[in-house]
Amino acid sequence: MTDILRTIDARGLLPPEPMELTLAALDEIGPGQEIVLLLYREPYPLYQILQQNGFGHRTELQEDGTFEIHIFHAG
């Protein structure tokens, strides 16, 4: 069971605040934990950073157009 450490609702924030908040929160993620980012778009630059720095992600598209991005340590 994954423990949701924090949910960052970035739907009302101007770029680059969503990325700043997410990157700042990465250090806090422990084993078995994840953070959830809420956005109205897919954050491709963030995906690249996550992948290249040992984090995995899973994205779900909600009915209202919100992308729910779950971020966790890969492997």
Binding site: L14, P15, D27, Y40, R41, P45, Y47, Q48, Q52
Partner: protein, 425 residues
């Protein structure tokens, strides 16, 4: 931790920046040419100087900035990779810049030789750009309304370029091709096909993102790009068929105008529904652009629907001014003021722990001042249609406005250079 993160797949900052820094210089040149010509510009939209000023804006300002935006938007916003971004940017930038200067020279001095050199340069630049971008756009798994719009826009650019090359051949070698028809097709595919489709695609992404509005309604996002492309294709066939299909062509013109107004009206509606009621200069550049688009389409429809229009040539020039200086230059300027600081921030982020806030990269107060000069330029240019001496003032103000844009964007580039060097030391 954060500062050490890698951004390997994002294109180097020089890839988009060179286009954004070149575009305003051509805008400046266009303004100075208008100031120099004054009332002579109103003789006809077909005159050499009018075509030179038009291409300084369309190829020099608009296409430069749009190429930069495409190269930036594809990988960062859609996740599609451009083929060898550095090489693509270098070839496209050099070919487009040199080709535009030669073409404008050809129009101004009526020298066929310049058309003969400009045409292959522009064709080479566009071919490399279209192939490099097409590979990422059509080859990748990317989906969504922005991707659909860009997939329609890029073939429209190929069509615009092909007809433009045919026109350059006609000017360069004088082969007797139907210039009026080819010019209409070239302008329609460039301004409604490539230009509007690209801007719609980019707007679907950046308006909700940077102005915190709800997303474009799905039926608009999904149907507008392909609908516009299909209408344009049908319109072109009807236009090529000549007088027998004139009624069909006019009906299709009305539908095309309606589609453009739907896009403008939806953008204005979203702006009203934004979640933060903050009004910044970008917001106003965007709003100015949408109102100008509605005005341009309204005037164009008067030309289509009313058989006899007094001063038809003048109204045609008014449509061109509203479309190019009012719509495209405004919206592209607004776009540059979001994309350039964002890209600067994104690249600084990988080099230093605390990059400056995006609002500090280009000072808002300087953007607001440029907006006021841009508004004054548009007003003076519009007044110039009725009172020609005002065109000189309009041209000068337009040149000042573009120079101001250049200074603001170059400031972001200098800041990037200074901070990234300091971080590396």
């Amino acid at each position: 931790m954060v500062a050490a993160m890698s951004f390997d797949q994002a294109p180097p900052i020089s890839v988009p920046l060179r286009f954004f820094l070149t575009a305003p210089l051509f805008g400046c040149a266009a303004g100075l040419l208008v100031a120099l010509l004054g009332g002579d510009l109103l003789a006809s939209r077909w005159s050499g100087p009018a075509l030179a000023a038009t291409h300084l804006l369309t190829l020099g300002f608009m296409l430069q900035a749009m190429v930069g935006a495409t190269l930036q938007v594809l990988p960062v916003a859609i996740g599609a990779n451009v083929w060898r971004p550095r090489a693509t940017a270098t070839i496209t930038h050099v070919g487009l810049t040199a080709g535009t200067l030669l073409l404008v020279g050809g129009f101004l001095f009526e020298l066929p030789l310049l058309f003969r050199i400009a045409a292959p340069l522009l064709v080479a630049a566009l071919t490399v750009f279209i192939l490099a971008v097409g590979r990422g756009l059509f080859g990748g798994p990317a989906r969504g309304n922005t991707v659909t719009a860009l997939r329609a826009a890029v073939p429209a650019l190929a069509i615009t370029g092909t007809i433009g090359a045919a026109l350059a051949v006609a000017f360069g070698w004088g082969n007797g091709w139907p210039l009026m028809l080819l010019t209409d097709l070239h302008a329609a595919w460039g301004l409604i096909g490539w230009g509007l489709l690209l801007l719609a695609g980019v707007s679907f992404l950046v308006v909700p993102m940077f102005q915190l509005t709800p997303p474009y309604r799905d039926w608009i996002g999904r149907r507008l790009p392909l609908g516009l492309a299909a209408l344009l294709l049908a319109w072109s066939l009807a236009a090529a068929a000549g007088e027998p299909a004139a009624a069909l062509r006019d009906a299709l013109s009305v539908l095309l105008g309606f589609a453009a107004i739907v896009f403008a009206a939806e953008t204005l509606r979203l702006q009203r529904l934004r979640r933060r009621k903050h009004v910044d200069a970008t917001f106003l550049f965007w709003r100015t652009a949408m109102l100008a688009l509605i005005a341009a389409v309204g005037l164009a429809l008067v030309l289509v629907l009313a058989g006899e229009v007094p001063n038809r040539g003048l109204v045609e020039i008014a449509v061109g001014l509203a479309m190019l200086a009012g719509f495209y230059v405004s919206v592209i300027t607004g776009m540059c003021y979001k994309i350039v600081p964002f890209v600067t921030w994104l690249h600084l982020q990988q080099r230093m722990a605390r990059p400056p806030n995006m609002n500090q990269i280009v000072a808002e107060v300087s953007v607001v001042r440029q907006l006021r000069v841009h508004w004054a330029a548009l007003a003076a240019l519009a007044a110039g249609l009725l009172f020609p001496p005002s065109l000189m003032l309009g041209g000068l103000l337009f040149a000042v406005s573009c120079a101001w844009l250049e200074i603001n964007l170059a400031g972001a580039a200098r800041l990037y250079g200074r901070l990234s060097r300091a971080a590396a030391a």
